[in-house]
Structures are given as C-alpha cells and as structure tokens.
C-alpha cells in the first residue's frame, strides 16, 4: 500500500512541474499558434537565477526562518529572469516572423533553444552541472502509510497556488481577458481596442513566470541543474500540453498531472504484469509513447477543440 502511495506522490510531484511548464506552451500556442520550443530554456534560465540567489544568500548554510525568505527571493528572481528572457525571445526571434510562413518561427524557436542551452553549458559552465544547495529541511511527514517530505508538500502546494493564481488572472483581470480575446481572434481583439502585441507579450511573461517558478522547484527537488536541463522537462511538458489539448489552460494542468502519473504509477502498473520489469529509465519511453498515441488517436487532446475551428 505504502509503495503505491509513494508512487502517487512521485507522480504528482513531477506532474506539478510538467503542469507549470505546460501552461507556457499552451498559452503561447493559444495566442500565436506557435510551439515555443525555447520555453524549456526559459525554465532553465529561471532555475539558474534562483540558484544564484540561494548561493548568494549563503547556500546550504541558510537555516531557520531565513529559508522561507531565501526561497521566496529565489522564486521572485526566477520569475523575473524567465520573464525577461521570454520577452527578449518574443521580440527578437518571433515578432519579426509574425507574418512569415508558420515553419519559420518554429525553426527560429528551435534555434533559440539550442543556442541558449549551449551558451550556458559550453559558454559559462564548461559542460559541468551545478548543485542546488539543499536548504529545505529534509524532514518528512507521515500520514498513515504515506511518507512525504516537506519539500514535496511545498512543491505540490505552491504549484497549485500558482495555478489558481493564473486561473484567476486569466479569468478576471483586464489583461487576462485581453489574452483570451486575442487567443480567440487577433483581428477582432484589435477592433476592441486591445493592443495585440501587448497581450502577446503578457502571455509570454505569464507563461515564463510559471516556468521560472518550476525551475526553482526542479532544482530543489532534483538538485543538479545545467544548460541542457530544459530539454527533457520541456518536451515532456509539451507532451502534457498536447495531451490536455494544446491551447487549453485546464488541459495543460490535467495533462501535466496525467503525464506525471503515467510515468510513475503507470510504469509500476505495467510491472504488475508477470514477466514485465520496466526500470525507471522507461519513464521517458512511456511518456513519448503516450505522445505518439495521442497524436494518432486524439490529436486534439482531452480538452482540445476541433482543429478546423482554429484554422
């Protein structure tokens, strides 16, 4: 029993990170019909900004109530760094191609992604990783058969809080409504007096804040960070967004958790079949197998609308 509960918690933990990153993919797709492949690097840059703050504050020596403050500062720095980089990427790599054929910005996105990950890895770190100082108390909580670390509780709860905040923002604020209007029809939105470029930049910034936040959580949880760290979580989060229905915000959240659970609980369930023994490395195979299956059988995902409506 406790084994399955552990798997469940692990699934929800990775699922939280996928969901946070997936939001940026799905929102940018909503306004621009662009897969922002550089989003994984926006996540990576946020993670490094948070790392910088924690190291500057004393790294593993930080203790007591200071931990909360340092983590808060790290999250703010990560959000700011990710937002700034996403804004620059939009301005330099995507906006000039706004009216180009759709393949052009996609190639530009892949170029930015490769450039940034190599810039950090080869330009600054000589291919070495960095280790997030373990500032979080290592204590665990036991609830019946379930053992869960403080870090996991924080990670899951703060992710949910961020997503609730985002949902409120999109639903109720003026900027949020302008983003929804631009997602539905850019031209009609401009006839309402909405500055379309401003709404697009706001979309990039909000998605980036979520990714930067996820970057810090990732560092705290997995500890090693490097320039190429954005690739796999990025592409998994993209899978999650497709699973939920690209363009749909609830879809990204549900897709993220589904993917996290499929990788962990799903893999262990398969292992229950006699003769099957899939080690942990199989999680990626399962995740991308899932992507292929969705693309074949339900390309619009769980919450997706018929593609013809958008075209």
């Amino acid at each position: 029993m406790s084994f399955w509960l552990d798997q469940l918690v692990n699934g929800l933990t990775t699922g939280s990170i996928y969901a946070l990153i997936a939001l940026g993919y799905t929102m940018v797709y909503g306004v621009l019909q662009l897969i922002n492949f550089a989003h994984g690097e926006v996540f990576m840059l946020g993670s490094f900004a948070g790392f910088g703050v924690i190291v500057a504050a004393g790294g593993a020596d930080v203790s007591g109530p200071m931990v909360a403050l340092v983590i808060l500062l790290a999250l703010v720095a990560a959000g700011a760094a990710s937002a700034a980089s996403a804004t620059a990427i939009e301005r330099l790599a995507y906006r000039p191609l706004r009216n180009a054929p759709r393949l052009a910005p996609l190639i530009s996105a892949i170029g930015v992604s490769v450039f940034l990950s190599h810039l950090v890895d080869d330009g600054f770190l000589n291919g070495e990783g960095r280790y997030y100082p373990q500032v979080f108390p290592a204590d665990t909580i036991e609830i019946g058969a379930l053992t869960i670390s403080y870090l996991q509780v924080f990670l899951m709860a703060s992710s949910v809080a961020m997503m609730l905040g985002l949902s409120y923002f999109i639903r109720s604020t003026r900027t949020g409504k302008s983003i929804r209007a631009v997602s539905e029809n850019r031209e009609n939105a401009s006839l309402m007096g909405i500055d379309v470029n401003r709404a697009i930049v706001a979309t990039f910034i909000i998605g980036a804040i979520m990714a930067g936040f996820a970057g810090v959580l990732y560092g705290l949880f997995y500890s090693t960070i490097r320039g190429s760290m954005g690739f796999l979580p990025g592409i998994k989060a993209f899978t999650a967004a497709v699973l939920g229905g690209i363009g749909s915000i609830p879809g990204a959240v549900v897709g993220g958790y589904c993917l996290g659970l499929t990788e962990t609980v799903g893999r262990e369930l398969l292992n229950e079949i006699p003769g099957v023994n899939l080690p942990n490395e199989w999680r990626d195979v399962i995740a991308f197998g899932l992507l292929v299956v969705i693309l074949i059988f339900r390309p619009t995902g769980i919450f997706g609308e018929r593609v013809s409506k958008r075209a």
Partner: protein, 236 residues
Amino acid sequence: MALLSISGLVAGYGGITAVKGIDLAVEQGEIVTLIGSNGAGKSTTLRAISGLVRPRRGAISFSGQPITSLLPHKIVALGISQVPEGRGIFHRLTVRENLDMGAFQRRDREVGADMERVFALFPRLKERAGQTGGTLSGGEQQMLAIGRAMMARPKLLLLDEPSMGLSPILVETIFETVTNIRAQGTTILLVEQNAAMALEVADRGYVIESGVISLHGTGAELARDDSVRKAYLGEA
C-alpha cells in the same frame, strides 16, 4: 471639415487590388451608406479605416488627423469602432465579457451604466449575460456585436452588413437601432447589400463597383436612380 475623410484610397491583398482609389467623406452626425455587390470592396474599405489592412496609397483622416498608418487599437482610441462582417463575437467569452471587451479602453465609472443601457436596448442579451457568445443565435449575436461596439462610446460607428442572414423582422429592428444610435449622437458609416433599407435610413450614400465609386448622392436620390434600382433594388 468632415469627421471622416478618405481620399484616393487604394488597398488590397497580395496580388489583388480590392479598392482602386476611392474618395469618401462622412460628416458629423450623418448616416452614410456604402452599397455594392459581392466583392465590390466594401469590407476592404472599412478594414482600411480600422487599420486592419494597410492602404497602399491614399489618405484617411479622422477629425482632421491622419490615421492612415495607425495600429487598430490606436484608431479605436480615437473614437472609431467597427462591427465587422460576420459580427466577430468571441465565442468562448460570455455575453458580459464580450461587452466588457467593447469597453476595453475605457477607465471611467460609467461602463456599468452603459452596459445596463445595452441590456435595456436588447433585453435578450440581459437574459443571456452569462452564456458564452457561441451559444447565441445569429440575431442575438448581431445585437451583441452592435451593443459591444457602442460600449466603446465611439464617435464614428462602422457597420459591415449588419442585416446579413437575419429575418425580415430582425432586419427592421437592426435598422431601427441604427437610427436610434445616430439620434444619440453617433455618426454612422453603414455597409450594406440590403440597399433598399440602407438608402431609406441614410442621409447620403455611395455606390461602389469593382473597387471604384460609381455614384453618390443623397439616400433619396440614389433610391430614385435607374441604375441603382436595376442593380441593387431588384427592379427590372
């Protein structure tokens, strides 16, 4: 000085020149109609005024200020709103949110009162305030589109075929609304294929054919004109 004045406007898409050098003016307080058959260039003219297509040549000015190369949201800020062809309702937004979008640039405290005014004008919209735009009927969507444009408190309202696809009774309602909106002080440029109704409510009209203005005059003059009667009023 005319409220809106267009001179030598040329506009199109890629290899197509849809509007081939037209002159048009709308005075403060007027209802002016632009009539013409399918593909004549009516929508392109309105799209150029709103900044959705960039004119290739010519000039558009509003209250004496050139607006030819402004972005659409800047043109809305100056006081020009458009109800586009096909209504342009946001299907995933509720009726109320659609109306909010109309008032996007307003920061004053009377937005709520204006929304009540729209609801008073179109009680059907009030009943459906929480429904998404996509669930409305064609007529309701047209009411919403007009109400939404009025939420911006425009000086000039551009209407692109508001009667399209509506039942005769609804068409009557829409044209009555157009007259009422003018009576409240909003100037109107009305694009229509329903020439009979348009010429009835309009002070002046222009006829556009293949991107060129072929005729203009008062509504009554055009309604009496033989070529107009033949081509647009369905008379032999």
